[in-house]
Amino acid sequence: MKINPNKCVACGNCTYVCPMGAIYVDPTINRATIDRDECVECYACYYGLSTEHLNPPIVRLIRKIFQWGRLRFDPEPDICPTAAFEPDDLQWPRVVRRAFSDPRATHESTGVQGRGTEEVKTNDVTGRVKWGEVGFTIEFGRPGVGVWIRDIQKMTWALAKAGVAFEKKNPFTLLMSDVSTGTLREDVLNEKVLSAIVEIKVKVEQTQQIIELVREVEKDVDTVIALGVGTRCDENGEEHLVAPILESLGYKLERAKTNMGLGRITNSIESKKQEEPKEVPSETR
């Protein structure tokens, strides 16, 4: 992203809306400026700010007069008055920043849309997390901290060593040059993104081991981590396997996403396939 200095009037509205705090008014040129190292190409400034198309010299003159008179104009805070933001033509590997930061972006870099997959949200039709399994989403950088991809590799290395299965369709898995070791492509390591989600699946019995591993590695990762744990409910809609483990580890389960089990396969080709994912094996209920 860039700010056209011929248009910018240094109103400062954009400095507040950047999730990474990467925009500031440079006093030497009196224009809003983007710190390119910190910018994750999320496009919140470009898409989120409404725009006017005012004449920049006139706006600057008015601002100067107001400043001289110590007067405060109280405009709307979510407007760029001169539409000064202009997208860059992003090249590899910088385009990875946008792919993992701008939710509207299609993943030209990975071929997958979004930061993660459908995970348990469509588990009733995909059967991705089966009875006795746990799907982890380990999200780095959100909210508003961001993460260098090289930091995430510390986690993927440790997880691979523990023998987990990385979700194949996850965009971050597609950045791995060697999934068996959790090694990422070297050319993306020095890119910073707003958030990235590592998705894995393990047996229920490994839940505690994975959480302890995450807690250990996160000491060496300079960002925030949000952990999500998805699992199947039993035939009565209850979940008595994973919750007790999480509570024993000190987590208070306040919020969850609940799949109601109302989905079914309706695409014609897929309809020919069996719907066994919806079945809970009777011997393990």
Partner: protein, 225 residues
């Protein structure tokens, strides 16, 4: 996507936050799903959702590309529910957000009876969602728990800002804007209702809950956490 899972707060703070999703699954039930997604949102309207949204085009409040200067004094802050429904053109998760459990559970029951064939999820407090399922006669299939934030949590803003920013799960509502809006409401420069519209426009999929945000801003006006 975990875009509504990691909202910050305890169960009590989610009392006015019930999000119901309809999600088509790639290669499984996405064919001809657009009319179903529209129907899902149409069915939500009688229950007065506080917002609806789709991840491709956004929610009921969207940025404008060509505002007139007079909008600084007289801006249309009305959420446009019709634009969301009419604009759906891609098979992707759509959401309806409610500020009370009664509406959410009655809507869920209607959706269950309608048998759309799409995956239906509710993002809410664990107990709140369970109560809705019980009311609607739905047996939970899977559950995804949020374990909250860990790691370098010293980099996070204060809890009121976090409650606001995490309502856009893609992280598009910045902590600086949330702080600015709290400050403006405290100073009386904007009402909570006005401040909410500015933040909501940054949420690109419409999951930002304006009712909860108004309450948080109103609480922050009186007491800073």
């Amino acid at each position: 996507m975990t875009n509504t899972l990691h909202r910050y707060g305890d169960s009590e703070s989610f009392r006015d936050d019930y999000i119901v999703f309809a999600t088509p699954s790639n290669d499984r039930n996405d064919v001809n799903s657009i009319p179903k997604l529209k129907k899902f949102l149409e069915m939500a309207l009688p229950f007065k959702p506080v917002s609806i949204g789709d991840p491709v085009h956004g929610g009921t409040l969207r940025p404008a590309r060509n505002l007139h200067t007079t909008s600084n004094w007289k801006r249309d802050m009305t959420p446009d529910f019709r634009a969301v429904i009419d604009g759906i053109d891609t098979p992707a998760s759509v959401v309806a957000i409610f500020d009370n459990q009664l509406a959410a559970k009655q809507f869920l029951k209607l959706v269950a009876d309608a048998d759309l064939g799409l995956s239906i999820n509710m993002s809410a407090s664990v107990e709140g969602a369970k109560e809705c399922c019980h009311f609607a006669g739905v047996t939970r299939h899977s559950v995804g728990y949020s374990l909250g934030f860990e790691g370098s949590t010293d980099k996070l803003p204060n809890s009121q800002q976090l409650k606001l920013t995490t309502m856009c799960g893609h992280g598009m509502v910045s902590a600086s804007l949330a702080k600015k809006m709290i400050d403006w409401v405290k100073e009386g420069r904007r009402t909570p209702a006005q401040a909410v519209t500015y933040m909501a426009r940054f949420c690109s999929c419409g999951v930002f809950n304006p009712a909860r945000a108004r309450r948080i801003l109103d609480e922050a006006r009186k007491k800073m956490e």
